[in-house]
Subunit: 108 residues, 2 copies
Amino acid sequence: MSGTTPPEPPYVAVIFTSLRRPDHDEEYAVAAARMLELAAGQPGFLGVDTARGADRFGITVSYWRDEESVRAWRRHAAHLPVQRAGRERWYERFAVHVARVERSYRFP
Amino acid sequence: MSGTTPPEPPYVAVIFTSLRRPDHDEEYAVAAARMLELAAGQPGFLGVDTARGADRFGITVSYWRDEESVRAWRRHAAHLPVQRAGRERWYERFAVHVARVERSYRFP
């Protein structure tokens, strides 16, 4: 699903790719929905896109005004225990790429 | 699914988000698989991550050595008719964000 439409570049994209373990589905779904809602209220948040296939591999891209807003969200008090749960229970593996968007276009 | 592991930053990430129309599934699947295979053979290709959910919203992130390799792939002779088919038949909407990855980390 796709959230709000990002503005003109430059902005920052945080690409989070992950393979979910085959358990804790409900705990994960509740926490993921809460984190999306909480992120959307943070300063500098511009939008989010997220997709996960039947193979449990997923990609979430969140868009931010600048590096400072990315760092603040990463260190947010409510975000930290969720990051820990991700490593301990939810993800087989994940990767994060923090990138500066230089151009974008869309259809239609 | 996730392809090869990108190397150390900097590199370029092309974030392609799309909503698939509810038809032409087989034509699309064949073309998408062929494009992934063809992209993987291009100069500067570093890897690809892709996921699409049951809601037909998907994200594909391809990773490239530099802007030049991104441009060359975008203009590749076999890629152009597929881009056209995407607009004409496969996608309700899509967006592309071209971004320079400045840092990345992974677990485990």
